[in-house]
């Protein structure tokens, strides 16, 4: 670091809500031209910090400095005008409008009588897009763009002002690896132009790849800043959760049973082809691959949400046909979906009702719901899975991500399935709860469930899976046992580079 002025500096920021000290004396500084990671578990104060900087909340105490000047952010627009820009995880674009209209939304250049000055608009937009080296132009309809390109539009929007600091909030959450590379190039470009970058992410690999320094928050307090080159994942994690995290390879400690589910030559149009695998009772089978490799689609087929175009599914040696989730559930296949809130939970309902949702019809007494039986099922699985909630009446939407995930898992366990498919088990779950979910999955296998875990995080599959199916472009490239697998051969397999093994 040079000894120049920080682009943006927070000093002693305090923000309290009734009953909660959300930010407790938070201070950190972003230098011009550096990529600064902001890390912390969910609820550590990252979002609140952003909202304070973005003018959505006013701090109770402390000062924000832009350059040398103490500054008050009156509103999101004001923050933007002062050069503090945010690229949010959830994109906020008007899909029916063009790229140019989106970039200058609310600030369209005008001619007389309030008419839009289209020529100026497109000229300005083209200039910005040129800097980003993108493949689309100012007149493209945003809805026609890929998610990655839509994100570029958001970034372009940030560049309409003289940005001093740009915040990226989990920018790679829905990007493919190729798209990530492009994003990182853009970030490097911004960096060269002397913009301070704040990079918020849970993904350690990325943090260590692109950032210069890492600041950590825990429980609303600033816990320190580390130089990325001088630290390691372990140290950062320890700072984040306040204790050590066990991510060692788990060894198979119990006997594996017979084959619960077998898939032969399964295909589904262009999504995946000729997929073969089997999963035994008592083992965790991992599926690893890039986004779009076809992993989730296989899970959806097994759960009856997609019909396969060829191939067969066998359970306990018998061929089965599954046309709907109801079929799958009846056969003992259950799916913990990737998008917990969108596909797994009824957020407005209470914990008990969510947990018994698939079996409420089996529990009825006459025409009525058997509420007593439901409560005892809930109590049983709350204790078993250590779900932390004030009681079954609590609305599921109010629980933390980890506890919500346990409700979804409990929902299926209470149906005693033979195969449990878990898609991205720890997406959006903070580091501390992650290892709890991992241990839980291991334990379920040891109790005799056949567990399939789909994950995009390599440490996760390496940690929980006994065998790993590596997928690339809709095909199974190789199935590894935990003795064979290394980070290198796994990466090669999922990039389509692997020459050895049983590449289809």
């Amino acid at each position: 670091m040079t000894d120049q002025q920080p682009a943006l500096r927070l000093e002693g920021i305090v923000k309290t809500f009734p009953g909660v000290r959300a930010l407790d004396n938070v201070s950190f500084a972003v230098m011009p031209g550096e990529v600064h990671a902001l890390m912390g578990e969910n609820g550590a104060g990252k979002s609140t910090s952003m909202k304070v900087l973005g003018g959505i909340y006013q701090p109770d105490e402390g000062t924000i400095y832009v350059g040398e000047k103490p500054t008050v952010m009156h509103s999101p627009l004001d923050a933007k005008a002062k050069g503090i820009v945010f690229i949010h995880q959830e994109l906020s674009l008007a899909e029916e409008l063009s790229v140019a209209e989106n970039i200058y939304l609310g600030e369209l250049p005008k001619k007389r009588f309030g008419l839009v000055d289209w020529d100026t608009l497109y000229a300005r937009t083209d200039k910005i897009l040129e800097k980003l080296k993108v493949s689309f132009n100012a007149k493209t309809r945003v809805g026609d763009l890929s998610i990655a390109n839509q994100q570029m539009v958001e970034i372009a929007r940030a560049l309409t002002v003289d940005a001093k600091a740009v915040f990226f909030d989990e920018p790679t959450a829905s990007l493919t690896d190729a798209e990530k590379v492009v994003l990182f190039e853009v970030i490097a470009d911004l960096q060269k132009q002397g913009v301070g970058i704040v990079y918020i992410s849970h993904r350690m690999e990325e943090i260590f790849k692109i950032t210069d320094r890492i600041s950590v928050l825990r429980d609303g307090q600033y816990r320190g800043t580390l130089n990325t080159r001088e630290t390691n994942e372990e140290e950062v994690t320890q700072l984040m959760i306040g204790r050590k995290l066990d991510l060692s390879r788990s060894a198979l400690t119990h006997e594996v049973g017979d084959v619960a589910l077998e898939v032969r030559g399964l295909s589904c149009g262009d999504l995946y082809r000729d997929v073969d695998f089997e999963v035994r009772r008592g083992e965790v089978l991992g599926f690893y691959g890039l986004v779009g490799a076809g992993r989730t689609e296989i899970a959806e087929t097994l759960f009856g949400l997609r019909d396969p175009s060829a191939g067969k599914i066998l359970m306990d040696g018998q061929e089965v046909r599954i046309h709907s989730p109801a079929d799958a559930i009846a056969r003992g296949i259950s799916l913990v979906p990737e998008d917990r809130k969108g596909q797994g939970l009824v957020l407005g309902m209470n914990c008990r009702d969510n947990m018994t949702l698939p079996q409420v019809d089996d529990l009825k007494a006459g025409p009525f719901v058997a509420e007593g039986a439901e409560v005892s099922i809930f109590d049983q699985y709350r204790d078993k899975l250590d779900i932390r909630t004030p009681g079954w009446k609590q609305t599921v939407g109010n629980l933390s991500g980890g506890n919500q995930q346990k409700i979804v898992i409990g929902k299926w366990l209470s149906m005693h399935p033979s195969v449990l498919i878990v898609d991205e088990p720890t997406r959006g779950i903070d580091v501390g709860s992650k290892s709890e979910i991992h241990n839980l999955l291991r334990e379920l296998a040891s109790q005799g469930y056949a567990v399939i875990v789909i994950s995009s995080e390599m440490p996760e599959v390496l940690h929980v899976a006994d065998r790993i199916v590596a997928m690339f472009n809709g095909r199974v490239m190789r199935t590894f046992t935990s003795e064979e697998v290394t980070e290198d051969n796994l990466i090669q397999a999922i990039s389509g580079l692997s020459g050895d093994g049983q590449a289809a």
Binding site: P18, G19, K51, I56, F303, L305, S324, P325, A326, A328, I329, A330, L335, P337, G342, Q343, G344, L345, V346, L347, G348, M349, D353, L357, P358, V360, D361, K364, P367, F368, V369, K411
Partner: protein
């Protein structure tokens, strides 16, 4: 008190607080402005109010479950009119002529069956085509109303059966027949939504359809059942009302869908589905009827009544929104 208890109480109890306010206001204002000698809160007046709430109220119970389920039904006014015509006209058909008063239950069953069938048709189309219920029932509203006019042109359909009138005007334990029907329907629908599997699943489907499908719930049949129930209740509402009045105009029941939806929304049911309460809908129905009756008690004309109800609806939903935003980290939009 746990955090959130007060706001939950305000939200749940708001409609009843509003009713109390209305009662107080009209009682006091009535003393100064009313031309009638009777007090507003006169017992007979209140009993009449309950009776007059029945036609809208019975349908509103059905609308609540359809809306909790994430749908809407705009065709209830037209189903109401068709069922009324079937009820009155069928009693004059020659095949039933010889039965005398025995034709009454048959006419009732016919009217209820037609209402249920029309609701089933709505539900089937929504289920099988996947077209939004708003559009399907908008079409049904126009189509069913067309059937009403095809039946008898612009002419009213009339048939007065005195046995039926006596039944409809009877009072049991002080309450009118129509009031009893309203109360029974309210209780039955409350049980359906709070105690049965169908009710539980209807809430789940309305709140998060995808999660419901992933839990193995078959969405289509549940939606169809709810459309059948609301069709049945629209017919029941007509049966109760026209047993007494004996004459139906082809325009009858027009705008009923909007009155019904107003009552349901006042009672706190979400337009997006997943949340709503039968008891609060009952409150919403009473609140609207009180307003109509109270305003006319103090001498306001129909146009003024509609204007005031419209304004109050918007004001109430605005207040509800304010209560809901508080404490949440919602963005200022």
């Amino acid at each position: 008190m746990q955090p959130g208890t007060l706001s939950t109480f305000l939200k749940r109890g708001a409609i009843w607080g509003f009713i109390v306010l209305e009662l107080i206001f009209f009682s006091i204002a009535g003393e100064f402005m009313s031309l009638s000698d009777n007090a507003f809160m006169d017992l007979d007046n209140m009993l009449l109010l309950l009776k007059q709430s029945a036609p809208i109220g019975i349908i509103a119970m059905g609308m609540t479950i359809v809306m909790i389920n994430g749908n809407i039904d705009l065709s209830v006014g037209a189903i109401y009119a068709i069922s009324a015509i079937i009820l009155l006209d069928s009693m004059t058909w020659p095949i039933f002529g010889a039965l005398g008063d025995g034709a009454i239950p048959i006419a009732w069953l016919l009217a209820l069956a037609v209402g249920t069938a029309l609701g089933a048709l709505n539900g089937l189309i929504v289920w099988k085509t996947g077209v939004d219920a708003f559009i399907v029932t908008l079409g049904a509203m126009l189509g069913y109303r067309g059937l009403v006019f095809m039946y008898n042109g612009e002419q009213p359909t009339s048939h007065l059966n005195w046995t039926l009138v006596d039944f409809a005007e009877a009072q049991f334990l002080g309450l009118h027949t129509a009031t009893w029907f309203l109360l029974l329907v309210t209780a039955a629908i409350w049980f359906l939504m709070n105690k049965t599997v169908h009710g539980r699943n209807a809430y789940a489907i309305g709140d998060n359809r995808e999660a419901a499908v992933n839990a193995g719930i078959r969405v289509g049949p549940h939606m169809m059942i709810n459309f059948m129930i609301i069709g049945f209740l629209a017919a029941l509402s007509a049966v109760v009302f026209y047993s007494e009045s004996g004459s139906v105009n082809p325009n009858d029941g027009e705008l009923y869908e909007l009155w019904v939806i107003t009552a349901v929304v006042l009672g706190g049911t979400k337009l997006t589905g997943g949340a709503g309460s039968i008891i609060s809908t009952f409150g919403g129905v009473l609140a609207i009827q009180l307003l109509r009756k109270g305003l006319s008690h103090i001498g306001a004309d129909t146009e003024t009544v509609n204007l005031v109800i419209g304004l109050i609806l918007i004001a109430v939903l605005f207040l509800d929104r304010q209560l809901n935003i508080k404490g949440k980290e919602e963005l200022k939009v």
